[in-house]
Structure formats: C-alpha cells, structure tokens
C-alpha cells in the first residue's frame, strides 16, 4: 500500500508533524487478550455492590425499574447500535422511523404537541429548556422552586454561565412579581417526591408572560395527569426510568417536549415525516436551520447528539408496557412507597414528612445521621435512601419502585429500627 501511495516508509506520511514530537513516551498498561480482558472487567464489576444481592431504596434522579427483555434484544441489534446519525435518510429509515415513534410516544405521555429526538440527560434537557424560555421571552431570570434537585440546579448554573442570566429561588408570592422572569421551573413530582401543583404555576406563568418548564419523572405519568393538560409550556425529563439501566449515571437520554408555537426555538435534532420521489412515506431530520452545522455561533444550541440508542430503548419500553403496563407500573411504585411510608411513620424516632400527596419518593426524618443509618443498612444488604442533611435536618429521601417487594420493604423497616437501637 505504501508503494501505491508513493512513499518509502510510513514516516514519510508524517512529514508535517514536528519530528522531535513524534513517537513520544506514553505509559499504558500492557495489552490484554479477550479472555484476559473479560476477567479483568468481571473482577472490577465484582468490586461493586449491585441489586442482585441488595435491595435499593435510593432514587433521587435515577431509578431501578425492571427492563423488559424486548428492550435489550432490540437495543443490541448491530443495525441500530452501530449506525451513525441519520444524515443519509435513505440509508437510515430504521433509526428515523424509531425516532419518529419516540417523538410521538413522548408527546402522548407528556400531553405536549412536540418532542425532539432526544437530549443528553434530564438535567441538561432542563437547562436547555430554561435557555429556550429566555430566548422566547427575551427575559433573563430563571425562577426555580426550592424543591428542585440540586444537581439540576448545578447543571443549569453551568449552562447559564457567561450568558447574563440569573437564577431566582422562588420562596414567596412576591417573587413571582419579578418582571424579568423568563420561566418558572417546577419538578413534577418534585425532588422530595411531592406531586406539585403544576396547574397553579402554569397559570401564574401565563399571567406574567413567563413560560412554565415542567421537569417530570416519566414513570409517574403512567398514573398522574400529564403536564400538557396542566398548562405546561415546556416539559423535560430524565428518560432513564423508561427502560434504561442505571449504569452508574449514564448514558441516559433527556426528554424534551414543548408547545407547537415554540417549534423553531427548540434545541436538538427533530425528525419529520415526508415522502420520497415516488410518494412513499419516509422520515428525515428536519428543521435543521436551527442547528450548529448550519447556524454555527447563532444556533439554538451546540447539541448534535440525540442519544438515539437510549431513545430507541425508551420507545421499545413504552411499546412493550403499553397503556396498561405503564399505569400498573406507576401504580405499583406509588403503592409500595406509600406502604413503606406508612410503616416507617409508625417507627419510634422516625417521622415521615407531612406530605400525603407524594408519588414514589418521600422524606423521612431520622433520629440520627442518615449516613450512619445507611451504613447499618448496608450490613443487612440494603442500599438506603439519599442523605438530605443539611438541606433537611437528618433527612433521608426514600424511594420505592415496582421492584421493591413487600418482603424488601418490611426488612428495610426492621433494619431502620435496629439501626437506631444499635
């Protein structure tokens, strides 16, 4: 091949690279054969504690749900897994039609008009929604309720840096009167599990020319009224609960839906239906004039991934569960969490925060440091809830999903009791 190229040695191809910089010292581990590699990673994986042996009461943004076999089967097909962004629609109708199904089903789940093809994860989707609200309203303050996940707030802070935007935590009715409010962001259910009053917040937004940005737990929408029916302008979500493994925090997919009138301000990829020259139905990426490869520094966002594989998993998940499966899964999450809360509330020294309208997460106030309690729980093969101290004094955010059996919950309650005696 070098002969065809017309060089004597490979190094002749590197003549543009400063010679003294070529072939530097690099220290890497020695290569492993496939079987050695397998052993290496199996060993590392066993240094982790996973849910085969432990029961989980931890949520706070990532949730353990059952993933149907259909999801894994379809997502591991090489035709989906090893394709690229569908720039050549004729050679990517599979990816594109799935993306269109994804957009459709997320619209149906959220009750919104439009959904894009997918964002990186929940917090970045929410941050992009706040930026979009600011572009639309030409206002610069992002209002957030105090019950917003601190991780979401932190990501938002990174996204608005150097943009002349500021975050206002809304603590009283007075704060709504801020003239500069571009949007009010509300989690539904909120970070502490409460089913927030999205309708009232959307109404307030409409009265002050701000947009409501509602960040949902998509599983809860199997049971709860969709934000689209509550007046939301933009809806975002962490898509992970819908068939994506927790995988230590990623990859996930951000869901992003909005009202039709804001279509051209949306960030991200969008897939549309059209026809081919023979009049047959076909799908393609569309409305690309919003995007970075065309608009460059004037694009709506720098994003150019849609986390398509995760969007595929979400699509297969929703199709597999269907309306009945989604409703029953969401109801189970609710039932188990309320059962657990009930039992913990009867424990001496523990108190469940007085908020009856939670979905599947709730705060318990512990008699001692939740970290100590969690340590004790670990010895009983239980991963406890998130320590909320000092945000909530000795508070623990407990989560149940359909995968927590009654036996798990009862043993969790018993262990909580023992943890404080011991």
């Amino acid at each position: 091949m070098l002969k065809t190229i017309g060089v004597r040695s490979f190094n002749d191809l590197l003549s543009d690279i400063p010679e003294q910089r070529l072939y530097p010292d690099i220290s890497l581990a020695n290569p492993l054969s496939e079987s050695e590699l397998f052993n290496n990673l199996v060993t590392l994986s066993k240094e982790n504690i996973g849910p085969e042996d432990y029961s989980y009461f931890l949520g706070a943004g990532a949730y353990r749900h059952y993933i149907p076999s259909t999801v894994k089967t379809i997502a591991s097909r090489g035709e989906f897994l090893t394709a690229y962004t569908p720039y050549q629609p004729e050679a990517a109708q599979g990816t594109l039609q799935v993306g269109f199904e994804f957009q459709s089903m997320i619209c149906q789940l959220t009750g919104m008009d439009l959904t894009n093809a997918g964002m990186y994860d929940g917090p970045t989707a929410f941050a992009e929604a706040c930026l979009m609200a600011s572009r639309i309203t030409k206002k610069n303050t992002i209002g957030l309720l105090p019950s917003t996940d601190p991780r979401i707030v932190a990501v938002l802070q990174s996204y608005i840096k150097n943009k002349n935007l500021k975050i206002l935590t809304i603590r009283s009715k007075e704060d709504y009167k801020q003239k500069d409010l571009a949007c009010i962001g509300v989690q539904y259910p909120d970070f502490f599990g409460s089913i927030s009053d999205v309708k009232s917040i959307s109404d307030i937004c409409k009265s002050i020319d701000a947009l409501s940005v509602v960040h949902v737990n998509p599983i809860s929408l199997g049971l709860l009224k969709p934000p689209g029916e509550l007046g939301a302008d933009i809806v975002t979500a962490e898509g992970q609960p819908l068939g994506i493994p927790m995988s230590f925090g990623g990859p996930y997919v951000g869901l992003f839906s909005c009202s039709k009138k804001y279509m051209r301000q949306m960030p991200g990829r969008i897939i549309g239906q059209t026809t081919d020259t023979n009049g047959n139905v076909a799908y393609t990426l569309t409305l690309q004039t919003r995007e970075q490869h065309i608009r460059r520094e004037r694009a709506t966002s720098n994003i150019c991934t849609s986390t398509q594989l995760m969007a595929l998993m979400v699509s297969v998940y929703l199709a597999t569960l269907g309306p009945e499966g989604m409703k029953r899964t969401a109801t189970l999450c609710y039932q188990k969490a309320h059962y657990a809360a009930d039992r913990i509330n009867n424990l001496k020294g523990f108190e469940v925060e007085k908020q009856l309208n939670f979905f599947n997460e709730f705060i318990i106030k512990c008699p001692t440091d939740p970290d100590h309690i969690n340590d004790a729980l670990l010895t009983n093969k239980i991963i406890g809830g998130l320590n909320l101290h000092p945000m909530v004094e000795n508070g623990m955010l407990v989560c149940c999903t359909e995968l927590n059996t009654k036996e798990n919950i009862d043993s969790f309650v018993t262990s909580l009791e023992k943890a404080t005696i011991g």
Binding site: I5, A29, N30, L37, F38, K46, N48, G61, A62, T70, I74, E79, F80, T82, A83, Y84, T85, Y87, Q88, E90, A91, A92, Q93, T95, F100, S104, Y120, D121, T124, V155, Q157, S158, K161, K163, L221, L223, L224, P245, M246, F248, G249, G250, P251, I270, G272, T274, T275, T277, T286, E297, N302, T305, T307, M310, V316, T320, M326, Q335, L378, L386
Partner: protein, 485 residues
C-alpha cells in the same frame, strides 16, 4: 440491502385494544389510597401490541439501516470503525449496569477505578494530565473546555479577553459552543493548501484573545505544519490553545496534544475509542487539560487515596455539566478498548488509519479532484468539482454510493471545499474492502459521463428514493396523529 415492499405502518396504527405484551406483577402490599382524582390522568394513548409484533416491527425497521456491522461506512470525521462486541458485553455486566450513581462510593469501587484508570490513559495519550469524564458528548467537552479557558482568564483578572479564534474549516459545534460560553467568534482563514493563514492569525492575535480552537489534524484531514509557530503566537499574547480531538484517531501514540502547545482538548470516545454510535448517541466527550488548569475541571473527577477510590469536585471547578458522572457505560467500553490494545496496538490503529486514507487518496486522485495534493492523515477530502461539470453533484455521487451498499462520505464539509466528499476509511477496514470501494468510486465516475441521470435519480436500490426535504421543513409533521392516511 434489497428493495422490497415494507410495511411502514406506525405502532399506533397497528394497535389493537386490549392486546398486551408484558405482565406487570400483582401488588403484594396492602392497597393504598390513590391521589385525588384531579391528579390522575384519564387516558394514556400508547400502542397495544403483542410481544412478537413489537419484536418483528423493530427488527424489520433495523434492517432499513446501514450500520458498521453491515456496511462499509467511510463517513469523514465520524470515525466509523468496528466496535468490538466484547466491549458491549462487558458494559452489560450486572455489576456495572445495575449500579445506582448515588450509592455509597465504597459500594462502587470497581466502577470508580475504571473512571480513574481511563482518566490516566487519556491523560497519557493526550499529554494533558487533568481529565474529567463528565461531558456527555464532544460538544459538551468543547463547552466545558471553553468554560475552563474563561475561568482561567478571569482568575488572572483578565476580564476583557472575550475572543475565540476559530478556523473557517472548523466543525459547527466549535463556534456554537464558543457562543454558548460567551465568547465572540472570530474566524481565521485557511490558505490554499489548507493550513491556517499564519499571517492572518498574527494580525488577529491581540490581548483580547482568550482561546484559539484548532482541530488537530484539521477537518481537511491535514496536519498543520506550522503548529508550533501557531501555538507560540497565541501563547505570547496570553491566550490558550483548545484542541478539538474529533480527529484523534490519526494521532494515537504518534504525537501528544500536550507536546504541541495545547492547553485544553476533548476526545470523542465514540469515535477514536470505538464505542458504538447508536444511531446518534450516546457519546462521551472527556475534557483534558494541563496540570495548571486541572483545578477548573467539571465535577466529578475520580481519584485514589491510599487504595480507596473516590469521586471529588476539583477545588475551583466550573461545576456540573451533566447529571451524574458522565457516560459510565461508554467509559467502560473505552477503558476495555485501550486495555485490549495497549500502546503498540493504539499506535498501529493510527498508522493503519493513515495508510488506509492515503491509499484511497492515491487510487482516486486521477478520478476526483483533491483539495490538497499533500499526504493526508486519517481522512481525505475529495472534491466532485470535475463531475459537477457533467451536472452531477457531490450529493448525487453520495447517493449513488448507497446503491452499491456503501455509506456516503461526509458531504459539503468542510465548507471551504467545493463539492466536498470527506472520506475516512478507519483502520478496521481490510485492503479488500478499500479496493472494492475504490472500484465503485471509479465506476461511479464512469457513470457520471455515461449516464448522469442514473446518478441524479439515485439511490435506486434502497427502501426509499430521495426524500422531499423541503416538504419536511415547510409542512412539519413531527409526531403520529390519528387518521393520517
């Protein structure tokens, strides 16, 4: 790929009331009172299908795709190399896949170790030892890197540095990320041989320059011969150098960014480090910096303290860029890829990627115009200028390639090349595949003069013919609606 009639009916139009494919368990806890009626949804329109119908639907759709597993995919700047299957298997191990991101670090030592080791490897490969795996994609890596540059200047009391210089050949995310980070974008021209016009750059180099963003090698597939003079010029003004690592597949083990005067870079794990593209993500865009800039890295960074592995936030961190710890599932695959190759293996990746691209360039230069006669790195940019004379565009050639079962090159990019066809074969393709591709490209060139209409109406053998893109944009139809037939 073969042409046949395929039923494209959408899921909702296939739905049959009451059909199910998945049993949810019966509740084993005492019945709890549901929320008030006003909080509950009245209906949820989702498809109702059997499991077989679902599997068959999605499997059939998958067959409408080109993919690396089924087709040669020489898509320039996307590094569509083979994705080793073992890496997918390893990422799906229970002990990784089922880990909650917030479970106590002492219960996730194996996972944090992988993050730490991968950071070390990427630091070694790039010559930039400060690494954070938090960014979820290349564009996020860029954005993080630019926030680091911003913070560095601000900490120096240098608040007036607000310019990011970006070459006209750069990927669109560069200016978009720079704008997001609050910089004014100034474009520096490429000269006729594809290098940065150093004279132009020197005129632009003032004390207002915050950062110069360079893709190394450039999107033209060329290594900038004046790289050291360029990085020195910017450093002399007090500015920083950002390297877009999208094309790192050309440089593994051959040269380190850090040795070229680069201060900050990102790498796309889904390109260079072989993690599957998934049809448009997930990706991962770790950001690497000099030791001096490491304190500004996005949170978290993995570290080791006396045998215990932990995740920490650097002392003057720019903050969080993603919800948890980055794309862990992608990081495992990249870790496995590097472990399986070692240094010699990585070097031969880049050597073979460069040889493959030059081989194609040499074989096709009689038939297609070259942007530059120079040897290329891992990709070559051809131009269909000559074919355009026969009324056939780069687009037509790209579409015709699909008929031969080969994915199209990247088209019309870089923007500075007329009728650009950017070809990146990668190192994982055999000489036989390259020869077949070369044969097809020559055949297409012949067709250009013999039967231009054949190309203009291509593709002919795909599930659909060319699409009405204008209709898609003018009458946006973006979701299923009932009774649309």
């Amino acid at each position: 790929m073969y042409k046949k009639t395929i039923d494209r009916t959408l899921l909702m139009d296939r739905s049959i009331n009451g059909r199910i494919s998945f049993e949810v368990p019966i509740s084993d806890v005492p019945n709890q009172k549901l929320p008030e009626e006003k909080h509950l949804r009245s209906q949820l329109p989702l498809p109702e299908l059997s499991q077989l119908e679902i599997i068959r639907y999605f499997s059939t759709l998958s067959q409408l795709n080109f993919s690396i597993d089924t087709n040669f995919y020489p898509l320039g700047s996307c590094t569509m190399k083979y994705n080793p299957k073992i890496n997918d298997e390893l990422a799906s191990l229970n002990g990784f896949q089922n880990l909650h991101p917030l479970q106590p670090p002492k219960t996730a030592q194996g996972a944090i170790k992988i993050l730490k080791f991968l950071q070390e490897y990427l630091g070694e490969i790039s010559g930039l030892p400060g690494v954070s795996l938090a960014p979820l994609a290349g564009a996020q890596g860029e954005y993080s890197g630019l926030l680091i540059a911003k913070k560095y200047h601000e900490r120096n009391g240098d608040f007036s540095r607000n310019i990011a210089i970006i070459p006209d050949s750069a990927h669109g995310t560069n200016p978009a990320s720079a704008a997001m980070a609050g910089f004014n974008v100034v474009t520096v021209k490429s000269d006729s041989s594809g290098n940065i016009d150093v004279k132009d750059l020197k005129n632009l180099a003032t004390d207002k320059i915050a950062v110069l963003m360079l893709t190394i090698p450039s999107t033209l597939g060329l290594f900038e011969p004046n790289i050291l003079e360029i990085t020195d010029t910017i450093h002399e003004t007090g500015g920083l150098i950002y390297a877009d690592g999208a094309n790192l597949n050309a440089l593994l083990g051959l040269v380190k960014f850090g040795d070229l005067g680069v201060d900050i870079c990102h790498s796309n794990l889904h390109k260079t480090f072989s993690t599957p593209h998934g049809g448009g993500g997930p990706g991962a865009g770790p950001v690497m910096v000099t030791k001096q800039l490491a304190k500004y890295l996005p949170s978290p960074v993995a570290s080791e303290n006396k045998g215990t592995f932990e995740l920490f936030t650097p002392e003057d961190s720019l903050g969080k860029i993603s919800g948890f710890h980055g794309s862990f599932g992608v990081a495992i695959r990249a870790y496995a890829y590097i472990r399986s190759l070692g240094l010699q293996g990585l070097r031969s990746v880049s050597e073979n990627a460069i040889i493959n691209a030059n081989y194609i360039q040499s074989e096709l230069k009689e038939h297609y115009d070259l942007f530059s006669e120079r040897h290329c790195m891992h990709e070559t940019v051809l131009s269909a200028k000559k074919q355009k004379g026969n009324g056939v565009s780069g687009l037509d050639i790209a579409k015709r390639l699909l008929d031969y079962g080969i994915h199209a090159p990247t088209m019309y990019f870089p923007l500075i090349v007329e009728e650009a066809l950017m070809i990146e074969p990668t190192e994982t393709e055999s000489k036989e595949t390259l020869d077949e591709f070369i044969k097809v490209m020559k055949q297409i060139d012949k067709e250009v003069s013999e039967d231009p209409e054949l190309l203009k109406s291509s593709p002919h053998f795909l599930p659909v013919t060319r699409l009405d893109e204008a209709k898609a944009a003018r009458q946006p139809y973006l979701r299923w609606q009932p009774n649309n037939h």
